[in-house]
């Protein structure tokens, strides 16, 4: 190979990212979501206005990796905590980063009340359909048929009930200004998810209302799957229950 001029077109780390080391599993979808979130903040020029509020889950480790202010809070409560933060600093760009267990299970009241209140914050829900951090049990967002450690034969609608489509519920509330659902199972969907994040953060920081982005992420560990099968499983099951796209975009 001869020496040719070359230009870096993509860095491993996002701006605002302090390190690339983390303890998440091989093939986990969360770290990609972290990266596009930090890119979105940086591209919007919000780095010195951003305050993140994170729940309890595998994704929590973003606190260690990102060079912005963070408040790690109780499981499910992030939207309420973020409300307190935002009302004290109305000019800050306040967002929550949470998992599906955090939002759809423990914190369903919090996210819906905050959305109805039109709180000017963004909630980002990383939906992998399991409590990843506790080892892969059924959440309120697990899809029908999904095997988890507490639904070993697959989630059965008759006994376990149906998944809670948080994004659809948030979109039904008058206080929400923007709702979208993306995923991180291939480069194209990653790029789209990043656009959703940018619009959501921009709108809430501009005072339009509550904005919500759900991102479907792979959890090969909780799905009991080889890492390479994660993206395909996500598409074949999660995207059927949770269709991708913008659910709501507009002033309230």
């Amino acid at each position: 190979m001869t020496e040719v001029a070359q230009k870096k077109v993509a860095s491993a780390l996002a701006p605002l990212q302090l390190s690339g080391e983390h303890h998440l599993c091989p093939g986990c979808g969360h770290p990609v979501a972290w990266r596009i979130l930090l890119e979105a903040i940086s591209e919007l020029g919000l780095e010195q206005r951003a305050i993140g509020v994170v729940g309890h889950g595998c994704y929590t480790n973003i606190v260690q990796l990102a060079d912005i202010d963070f408040l790690q809070c109780l499981h499910g409560r992030a939207p309420a905590v973020a409300t307190g933060v935002k009302r004290v600093h109305p000019d800050a760009a306040v967002f929550t980063l949470q998992g599906d267990g955090d939002v759809a299970s423990e914190g369903l009241a919090e996210v819906l009340h905050t959305a109805a209140r039109a709180e000017r914050i963004t909630t980002i829900m990383l939906n992998n359909g399991v409590f990843g951090d506790t080892g892969g049990q059924m959440t309120a967002a697990s899809v029908v048929g999904q095997r988890t450690k507490t639904s070993l034969d697959g989630r059965d609608a008759e006994t376990h009930g149906h998944p809670v489509p948080v994004a659809e519920l948030v979109a039904a509330l008058a206080g929400s200004a923007y709702v979208a659902r993306g995923s991180v199972n291939n480069a194209g969907s990653i790029a789209k998810s990043k656009r959703y994040l940018k619009r959501a953060l921009e709108l809430s920081a501009a005072g339009a209302g509550f904005t919500f982005v759900e991102i479907l992420t792979m959890c090969p560990t909780g799905w009991f799957l080889p890492t390479a099968e994660g993206p395909g499983y996500l598409e074949g099951t999660f995207e059927q229950t949770y269709p991708l796209g913008v659910l709501k975009d507009g002033p309230r």
Binding site: P26, G27, H30, A187
Partner: protein, 76 residues
């Protein structure tokens, strides 16, 4: 002979062997190693034909890729 428009630097020690980059690479120029890194994982190796499309970098959960575009494409 393959047309190569760019290249990637891979942090193979940070790699956790998930193989997401392998599937993401349209031209299929990434292949998994036989050896393992210090963590015990196999990792991707680059073969000629990279288009600098960044897909590997975009999907990698362990931030292993830096992507470079060549000023001019090369035949390797």
């Amino acid at each position: 002979m393959t047309l190569t428009r760019g290249t990637v630097e891979i942090d193979t020690e940070r790699c956790k062997g998930c193989e997401l980059c392998i599937a993401a690479c349209r031209p299929g120029v990434l292949v998994m190693s036989e050896e393992t890194n210090h963590q015990g994982y196999r990792f991707p190796l680059l073969e000629p034909g990279c288009t600098a499309c960044r897909a590997c970098r975009d999907v990698c959960p362990d931030y292993c890729f830096e992507v470079f575009r060549f000023d001019q494409a090369m035949e390797v």
